[in-house]
């Protein structure tokens, strides 16, 4: 049945290419999380209004991001925007789609966090003479930050795994680089086992550093 000889040396020769891909994976993950977070905050605030055009816009964004596959969103960026004359590179398409996706999920996470802070705290801060912005900055957001910390890390991990979808539109991140590297020898199994291990390590590093950060920040 298993009359197969493994050729690991082929993988070691290509390891620099894989690591180059891993770097791109990390870059696209971090960039899309930064952009996603920046968009998610106003979306979450708009969702709390419960009426008006802002609420409808934010709701449409959140529901579209959460109820269609991430791969569909990448296709939309890569093929769909072409209809408007926008020819995006596979990097930009993946980056935009992942940011769109992250923003939708994070907006719901943030909204949950905001709802968990009692509204009296905001009123109390306002009646102490703080401006609305300062009340959010110094009273509400620090508490929200603690509540959403682990859901946020989950999303970060998810974005890391989802960035592998970029390979389907030709992006040379870790999965794409592996696919290219194995196409010379077709030692698919050896190559992808190593790639799986690299993904696992990256996910573990994120998880462990998140735990340490949480402990450092909130160990009271």
């Amino acid at each position: 049945m298993f009359g197969y000889t493994f050729f690991w040396s082929l993988v070691w020769d290509k390891l620099p290419e894989l690591l180059e891909g891993a770097k791109l994976t990390l870059e696209i993950t971090i960039l899309s999380m930064i952009v996603g977070t920046t968009i998610a905050l106003p979306l979450a605030l708009m969702r709390r209004q419960a009426t008006g055009p802002g609420y409808r816009f934010a709701t449409a964004w959140v529901e579209l991001a959460r109820n269609t596959p991430a791969l569909f969103q990448i296709y939309m960026g890569y093929f769909g925007l072409g209809a408007f004359g926008l020819q995006l590179s596979s990097f930009l398409a993946t980056f935009i789609a992942l940011s769109f996706n992250n923003a939708g999920y994070l907006a719901e996470t943030f909204r949950g966090g905001l709802n968990a802070v009692p509204p009296q705290q905001f009123s109390a801060a306002r009646s102490l003479g703080m401006s609305s912005l300062r009340a959010y900055m110094h009273v509400v957001f620090p508490q929200v930050f603690r509540i959403v910390f682990f859901p946020y890390v989950n999303q970060l991990n998810w974005a890391l795994l989802n960035s592998s979808l970029g390979s389907i539109v030709g992006l040379r991140e870790l999965t794409g680089a592996t696919q290219a590297a194995q196409s010379e020898s077709f030692r698919t199994f050896e190559f992808f086992i190593v790639t799986a291990a690299i993904y696992y390590l990256m996910a573990k590093v994120v998880e462990i550093s998140a735990r340490l950060t949480f402990w450092r920040l909130f160990r009271s």
Partner: protein, 217 residues
């Protein structure tokens, strides 16, 4: 002579192709959800009731959750080809997705069983129920009640994840769309239809799950 790519617009005969894709997506979702739920219930119960199983399964659960699904598809596919078995892409999809669904469901089952108060278990046991009677008539139904809304959410996630099975050659709706886009260049129209399909399936179910969660609380 100018070189021209073979080009033809959308035709009515493409409709059966798309419908087959839709059927494949639904079939894969239903089969993987059914098998995955059974696996998940067994795994969840094992993880809750046996310490040894908890530690052994922790490694498996951890790995399934930290490796992208695309890579799991490719690996399972290549393992079977190493063994000289050419598996149907549908079978590869079912294996990977039901194991994935099983892991996610086992987390829900475990937290559902943990949420049952120990006093209730003790009370049932002292009424003369044996372990299995207590599990099936007291803990089980209570756990089902707490974990059902999240299970519905997991099925939606699964339905979206079936779109990745295209990497091993299964022609689901998204893959069918991509093939048609390559031929016709009608990207926006085709993707619009596909997006609408996913949205119409996932959105009502997610609304239902959220409402269920609110009423059960």
């Amino acid at each position: 002579m100018k070189f021209q790519l073979p080009y033809s617009g959308l035709q009515w005969s493409d409709l059966p192709f798309l419908l087959t894709g839709i059927f494949h997506t639904i079939l894969l979702t239903v089969v993987a959800a059914a098998i995955g739920t059974v696996i998940g219930i067994i795994l969840g119960w094992l993880r809750e009731s046996s310490v040894v199983a908890r530690y052994i399964l922790a490694i498996y659960v951890d790995m399934t959750r930290s490796v992208p699904l695309i890579i799991q598809f490719i690996l399972v596919n290549s393992v079977f080809s190493l063994a000289g078995l050419a598996l149907d892409p549908f079978v590869v999809g079912v294996i990977v997705l039901s194991l994935y669904m099983g892991v996610l469901t086992s987390e829900l089952v475990r937290s559902g069983l943990q949420s049952v108060r120990p006093e209730l278990k003790k009370a049932s046991r002292s009424l003369g129920m044996n372990y299995w009677q207590e599990l099936f008539h007291v803990s089980g139904p209570l756990a089902l009640r707490t974990s059902f809304p999240s299970w519905v959410g997991t099925v939606i996630a699964l339905a979206k994840d079936t779109s990745l099975v295209g990497v091993v050659g299964y022609v689901d709706i998204l893959r069918a769309t991509q093939i048609l886009i390559n031929r016709t260049n009608e990207a926006l129209l085709m993707l619009g239809v596909t997006g609408l399909f996913y949205f119409l399936i996932c959105y009502p179910i997610s609304l239902y799950s959220r409402r269920l969660e609110r009423t059960l609380q």
